[in-house]
Amino acid sequence: MNGAQDLGGMMGFGPVVVDPSHPEPETPVFHSEWERRVFALTLAMSPVGRWNIDQSRFARESLPPARYLASSYYEIWLAGLERLMHERDLLTLEDLDRGAPAAPASAHPGRVAPADIAAVLRRGGPTARTPAQAPAPAPAYAIGQRVIARVMNPRGHTRLPRYVRGRAGVVIAQHGFHVFPDANAAGNGEAPQPLYTVRFAARDLWGADADPNSSVTVDAWESYLEPAP
C-alpha cells in the first residue's frame, strides 16, 4: 500500500545526525523499559498468533500516515502488535477495559519457552524456497538484463517502493525463489517467485540533478518487473 512507511525520496525530515559531535553510541540498544517489553512481546506473540513477517509489516504500515509519522519506532511496533492481536481475538477491547483476570489461563500451545529461544532464533525464518516448492517457471530475467519496475499501486502489502515504479534498471543478481510478500501478507500462501537484485542509476530515479556517480538497488520479485523495451 502507498502508506507512510514508503519513505524513499521524501524530503523535510531534517538531518540524520542531529549533533555530529555526539553520534549515537552503539549502546544502549533500548531507550526505555517499555521499548524492551514491546520488542520482546512482539517476538513472543508471533508463534501464538501465527502471523507471518509480511502480515506484521503490513499491520505496522497500515497505520494512518499522520499517525505513523508522529509515532516513535516502538510505538509503531506496539500499534502493529495490538492490531494483529485484535484481528485474531487474542486481545479484545473488553480485555483492556477489564484488566488481567484473577485466575491465569493455562499455557497456550504456541507459548515460547525460555529454553527454546536460542534455537528458535538460530533457525530464523528463511524465505528461500526450492524450485520444487515453487510451481512457477524458471527465472525470466538474466543477470545484466534491463528491466522496468512495474507501475503498480496495490492496496495490500508490497515491497516495491514507489520511487522505483516505472523506472528502468539492470538485474545484477538472482537469489532463487523466495516467499512472495504480497501474497503471504494477504494470507494467500507463500506463492514463491524468483527474486532479483535490480540496480537503478540515481539519475534514472531522481532526474538530471541527481548524483551522476551513484545507484540504488532494490530486491524485487519477478512479478514486480517487466522486460525493458
Binding site: 525520496g9 538531518p15 531507550h31 520488542f39 512481546l41 497456550h108 525460555p114 523466495h178 541527481a210
Partner: protein, 229 residues
C-alpha cells in the same frame, strides 16, 4: 483506555523517536516520574498476555537479554576482520555469505540470506531499508535509532553523499556510491576498507577497529592510531 484511542500524549523526546525535532536528542532518558501513558499501556498488555497463557515473562527477559547483551556489532566485526585477514574466507563470503558467516556461528533470524558488499578505493556501499528497518540482526544486533528514522530512510536513496557527510564520511565525487535498499529478506553487510598501517595487527585487534556504522556503510573503520589514543 480502549484500543482504538491509542494515546498520543507522550513526550516526543522520550523513547526511540527517530525524528525528534531539532534540539531534542533522538533518544530519551530514564524516567523517574509516574509512568507515562505508553508505559502503563504496555504493562497492562503484558499482564493480560501473561494471564491468558500466551507469554512467559521469563521468555521476554531472554529475548531482551539476547539482543541487548549477546548479539551486537561485535559479531559483524569478527566477520570483517576474518575477511580482511583470510583470503579464502573472503572468497567464500563472496560466493555464499550466509554459509561463510555461519562458520563463525552467526546465523538465524533476520540474517537468513546474507550478502556481503565490499568497499574499495573506487566504490562505497551504504545499506538502508526505506520501507521499514531490515537489518542483519545476527551480525549487528538491533538497528540504531537513526537507521530506523524517517530522515535516514527518506534521504539515503536520494542524497547518499550528503547523508554520508553528516556522518563525517567525505567521499570524493569520483567514488561511486552504491545504496542497497533492503526490500526483501536479503540482508547486506558492508565490508569496510581495512585501514592502512594495520598489517601487523591480530584478527582480534582488527575487529576492534570495525564499528557498527562502518558495517552499514555510514562510517569507516577506525584509524588504529586514533583508536588507541
Amino acid at each position: 483506555m480502549s484500543a482504538s484511542d491509542h494515546d498520543h500524549d507522550h513526550d516526543p523526546a522520550h523513547g526511540d523517536h527517530g525524528h525528534a525535532p531539532p534540539g531534542h536528542a533522538p533518544h530519551g532518558h530514564t524516567h523517574d516520574a509516574a509512568p507515562t501513558a505508553i508505559e502503563a499501556r504496555v504493562k497492562s498488555i503484558e499482564a493480560l498476555l501473561v494471564a491468558k497463557g500466551y507469554v512467559d515473562p521469563a521468555a521476554l527477559d531472554v529475548f531482551i537479554d539476547t539482543y541487548e547483551h549477546r548479539v551486537g556489532p561485535q559479531n559483524g566485526a569478527r566477520v570483517v576482520a576474518r575477511a580482511w585477514t583470510d583470503p579464502a574466507f573472503l572468497e567464500r563470503l563472496r560466493l555464499d555469505a550466509s554459509k561463510a558467516i555461519a562458520e563463525l556461528g552467526y546465523e538465524g533470524r533476520q540474517g537468513e540470506h546474507m550478502v556481503a558488499v565490499e568497499n574499495t578505493a573506487a566504490v562505497h556501499n551504504l545499506v538502508v531499508c526505506t520501507l521499514c528497518s531490515c537489518y542483519p540482526w545476527p551480525l549487528l544486533g538491533l538497528p540504531p535509532v537513526w537507521y530506523k528514522s524517517p530522515p535516514y530512510r527518506s534521504r539515503a536513496v536520494i542524497e547518499p553523499r550528503a547523508v554520508l557527510r553528516e556522518f563525517g564520511v567525505h567521499l570524493d565525487d569520483t567514488v561511486e556510491i552504491r545504496v542497497w535498499d533492503s526490500t526483501a529478506e536479503i540482508r547486506y553487510l558492508v565490508i569496510p576498507r581495512r585501514p592502512s598501517g594495520t598489517e601487523d595487527l591480530t584478527e582480534e585487534a582488527l575487529a576492534a577497529l570495525v564499528t557498527r556504522d562502518s558495517m552499514i556503510g555510514a562510517g569507516l573503520a577506525r584509524d588504529p592510531a586514533a583508536a588507541s589514543a
